[in-house]
């Protein structure tokens, strides 16, 4: 136990000192908190008279304050105080380096814990609280039984799922065949041990498109990619080792358990991605989502090797995914999206074998909003779901066709069809409504007063239909963001608070570069929104956000409209035909059945 004098040099602010005094007192130290109106001379005299081993002064730094503090230290030196007493300074804007420059023995800035100050008083080295990095990986599907609360919709979905199953189980495609090869012939552990790829590449290139075929035949890469050099790979390994040694991760949710917070990466370069992921984890992201380039979704087959890409989207190869996945923190959930293109089932297999925690599959969005032929994506999506089940990989069912103009009720009907099919096949889907200022919202004035009601209505509608996890995305607040980073971070934080108030399981957030299209997303832009969300959650705590009665009315309308869409699909009698016919989004609404992979499906057995 030692004696500690705490002296506010600030004429007003001494709350921080009071908190520290209480903490030190609880730790068994004798603390004396001096009143806030003493002169430096009086503080020095009292410290000498009381024989304190430690003096802690607080002062908000501002114009001219550094000089005042330097004079205080001179005075303490002249009085012989420093021979026995160590002096620390704390307050807003205090930095350790500045404190040292001014002659203090320690400096304590905002966010200082009692433990840090206690270590100074007890002359021990401060070791950051290990609980800061004690985040555990969470399964957001745990606790959901997927029971329907709406019997009418349940019955209709059962009919549609049976329709899809009967149709898809007797069909295959090059994508399905590649996934089968990856599943059966490729052993990730042997590959990691540099024991090769088995016999995979004896069969694989024949099932690929032109670019991968050329790569496997001649080694020629996609024009915007290059291999990393050995020097770069060695540099990455030391960077990772050094950074990991000092890493800890924040928890953003304050007093809540959820929502988990995800952000995306996909700069094009796996090394830059790793840098972005480490920063995201440190600032509190619970999960990260892999974005691949748009040409990847339209290319039959994957390239191989450790590749960097000059444009948006990081190329999916075993080496890229492996290094990115292995670099993440133990608690970080990792999602690799499979939802939209010609490699959907193989992405699920590859991601699962390389340790991904989640994937993303939606036949309707991929076929109507992402350019893949509906027939092809129905077959590939069906098989992808089977692989997701086999590897225990939950997946979200995204509804981004809303961004093209498809009304929410149609996008939701498509999402529920895929989710129902997944549950019947034994998989664990997660519903992903958009929190967005979508074209439908703009045209019909659904958010003229606020951004709360219609987003809340989506969650209420889905909860009224089925007991399933909900993960709004992607990102929340889509089309509300501007290039102004304050506005953008604020928009994200408010939508995050709405998600928290609605008790959703997870959210995907943007960076403050969301609306900026002039270049890659920068790492500070990611930190901006994570900080904003953290502050939002701190503000909200266990309190709520109350939607107006309009939310319940909109939810009821959505449910009725979803039922109508399901009726239309059943009436069509063929799911693929229903996609083409516009039942789940028409051309007039901005949904265009894709053409990538057209005429590549064949029947089997």
């Amino acid at each position: 136990m030692s004696k500690v004098l705490l002296a506010p040099l600030d004429p007003v602010h001494d709350i921080g000192l009071k908190m520290i005094a209480r903490g030190l007192g609880q730790a068994g130290h004798e603390t004396v908190l001096l009143p806030p109106d003493l002169t430096p001379e009086e503080i020095v005299r009292q410290t000498l008279e009381q024989g304190a081993e430690t003096l802690l002064v607080s002062r908000t730094l501002g114009y001219g304050v550094a000089e005042l503090l330097a004079r205080f230290i001179d005075l303490a030196d002249a009085a012989g105080l420093r021979a026995k007493t160590r002096i620390g300074i704390g307050g807003m804007a205090v930095r350790r380096e500045l404190a040292a420059e001014l002659g203090f023995d320690a400096g304590f800035g905002p966010g200082t814990t009692v433990e840090e100050v206690r270590c100074f008083v007890e002359r021990r080295d401060y070791v950051p609280d290990p609980t800061r990095s004690n985040k555990e990986k969470a399964d957001m599907t745990a606790g959901y039984d997927y029971r329907y609360r709406h019997a009418g919709i349940a019955g209709k979905l059962a009919k549609i799922s049976a329709m899809i199953e009967d149709w898809a189980r007797v069909r295959t495609s090059p994508g399905v065949e590649r996934a089968r090869l990856r599943d059966e012939l490729w052993d990730a552990e042997r590959w990691r041990a540099r024991e090769g790829d088995g016999t995979l590449y004896e069969h694989y290139p024949a099932l690929c498109g032109e670019v991968p075929q050329r790569y496997y035949a001649t080694g020629e890469l996609h024009p915007k990619t290059r291999r990393f050099t050995k020097e770069e790979v060695a540099g990455l390994e030391s960077y990772l080792a050094e950074t990991k040694a000092r890493m800890s991760v924040l928890k953003l949710q304050h007093s809540r358990r959820r929502p988990l917070v995800f952000n995306q990466y996909g700069t094009g370069c796996p090394f830059l991605d790793i840098g972005h992921i480490l920063a995201s984890e440190a600032w509190g992201a619970d999960g990260v989502v892999h974005f691949d380039p748009s040409w990847g979704a339209r290319t039959e087959g994957f390239l191989d090797g450790f590749l960097t890409h000059q444009e948006d989207g990081t190329v999916i190869t075993p080496a890229n995914l492996n290094r990115i996945g292995a670099g993440r923190e133990r608690s970080t959930l990792w999602q690799v999206r499979a939802h939209r293109g010609l490699n959907t089932p193989e992405t699920v297999v590859l991601a699962a074998k390389l340790g991904a925690d989640l994937t993303k599959i939606n036949i309707c969005y991929g076929a109507l909003g992402a350019g893949t032929d509906p027939e092809r994506l129905t077959v590939d999506g069906y098989q992808a779901i089977l692989y997701a089940k086999k590897y225990g990989l939950p997946f979200d069912v995204v509804t981004n066709e809303e961004l093209a103009g498809v009304p929410a009720y149609k996008a939701f009907a498509g999402m529920l069809i895929v989710a129902d099919l997944a549950v019947r096949l034994g998989a664990r889907p997660i519903l992903q409504p958009l929190f967005a200022y979508s074209p439908e919202v703009m045209i019909h004035g659904l958010m003229e007063d606020n951004y709360v009601d219609f987003n809340a209505a989506k969650v209420l509608a889905l909860r009224g239909i089925v007991n399933a996890p909900i993960w709004p995305g992607a990102p929340i607040g889509f089309l509300t963001h501007t290039e102004d980073r304050v506005q953008s971070a604020m928009a994200t934080a408010l939508h995050a608070c709405l998600g928290a108030a609605l008790e959703v399981d997870a959210i995907s957030i943007a960076s403050t570069d969301e609306a900026y299209s002039g270049g890659p997303i920068s790492v500070p832009a990611k930190v901006d929104t994570l900080r904003a969300v953290q502050e939002g959650f701190r503000f909200l705590g266990q309190a709520g956000i109350a939607p107006t009665p309009a939310a319940d009315a909109a939810a009821a309308k959505l449910v009725a409209e979803i039922e109508g869409v399901l009726d239309a699909v059943i009436k069509e009698g063929d799911f693929v035909a229903a996609l083409h016919a516009g039942a789940l989004g028409s051309r007039e609404e901005g949904a265009y059945p894709g053409r990538a992979g057209k005429d590549t499906v064949r029947t089997v057995g």
Binding site: E232, G235, T267, L272, T308, Q310, E311, E483, P520, S522
Partner: protein
């Protein structure tokens, strides 16, 4: 390249308020400033003009994806933006 710039992960943003009479003038000041600092890969991310002047954020990419990052490699790599 300056030692501190070598440690920039990707981009350097500069935010300020220019006293000027239009958004266009503010954008020009920002791009000019970033070029004067020696950056080549520059842009204005955001600008908002009101009567007293423009609130503006400029960006200089020190590295783009697929560049060779000095924070990873030490002093041997070539940066793209400076």
């Amino acid at each position: 390249m300056n030692k501190a710039l070598e440690q920039v992960m990707d981009a350097l943003d500069v935010e300020t308020f220019f006293v000027c009479d239009s958004e266009e003038a503010g954008r020009k000041y920002m791009l000019g400033l970033l070029k004067e600092f020696g950056f080549k890969d520059v842009d204005v991310v955001f600008a908002q003009y009101e009567g007293p002047g423009v609130r503006v954020r400029g960006r200089a990419y020190v590295y783009r994806p697929a560049d060779r990052y000095r924070w990873l490699l030490g002093g041997t790599a070539e940066g793209a933006g400076v």
